[in-house]
Subunit: 151 residues, 2 copies
DNA sequence: AGACATCGTTAGCATAGCTAACGATCCTGC
DNA sequence: GCAGGATCGTTAGCTATGCTAACGATGTCT
């Protein structure tokens, strides 16, 4: 009856991960408020800052969102002076999105604030728990990737 | 320099957990689409189904949302015939919310679907990885709880 | 050259989040 | 017992995010 047990475990795990994801985001959102950016904008900005200039379509796929949605998110970031739209020389259909210096600064400031919030919680973990949680985060990323590939 | 290293670890972990939470919810949302319910509605319904009759204010606090927002979520669920509003005898200001039989059924069906989606991914994990992920999920819950208590 | 494909945008819709303001009800102090 | 303040849920009105459909501009292929 091993597969039955695994199925029950999967159910429980799904519920826990789902709930944890919801509540984690709600808490981080309060911190992210200090940047003046919503979660989707902050996430997109992060991709642009670390992923170099990127086309709008690539950004939409990276964020698992449709192009019209990304158009508006980028427009919002652009109005805030955090990213710039640039045309592509070779393929004039493309819009390349690049972070401005201000965009980089804002993202870094947000990172510090999140760290400060999490620091208090993480400090209480012993080394073993910290390592376990890192392992769990990696497994979660892999799980999400495998789900994405199957879709 | 241990605290410096821990701080870096906390930063990386915060980024990873933030990103993982966003992407996990995006994937689960596609599955939840089969219920015809959005994530907030599904989450609220879950509280009502398992938490018995509950006032609107309690529900709003449980979901970390303001009362006006919960009013509309409940209205949506009510129009779908998934919950009922009932007045309270003792305190006529209160609105008690109770799940209908249909609401219970829909929630259960959604649970099955989520499990089916995750099953494929979880099946590929060996027992060690599964145990590690469960441990990680538990640590994450504890982390969130400790953050909430400090706020 | 013409047909088709791809990219980003616009338009229009639904949902979810917020604050402010309000009516109804409850509780308290006098 | 009643006048004033507190609490509960709702309504109104704003912003942001998500979607599909449709379109113009550009690229590609035959």
């Amino acid at each position: 009856m091993k597969s039955r047990k695994r199925e029950r475990d999967a159910l429980a795990l799904a519920e826990q991960l789902h709930s944890a994801a919801i509540h984690l985001l709600r808490h981080l959102r309060t911190v992210d408020d200090a940047t003046g950016l919503s979660a989707p904008r902050l996430s997109a900005l992060s991709v642009v800052v670390f992923g170099g200039p990127v086309t709008l379509g690539e950004l939409a796929r990276a964020e698992q969102v449709r192009p019209p949605t990304m158009t508006r998110i980028v427009t919002g970031l652009e109005k805030g002076g955090l990213v710039r739209r640039e045309g592509d020389e070779r393929d004039k259909r493309l819009t390349r999105i690049r972070a401005t210096t201000k965009g980089q600064k804002v993202l870094m400031a947000g990172r510090s604030r999140r760290v400060e919030l999490l620091a208090g919680a993480v400090e209480k973990l012993d080394s073993t728990a910290l390592a376990d949680l890192e392992r769990g985060a990696q497994l979660l990323r892999e799980l999400i990737d495998s789900m994405r590939r199957e879709k």
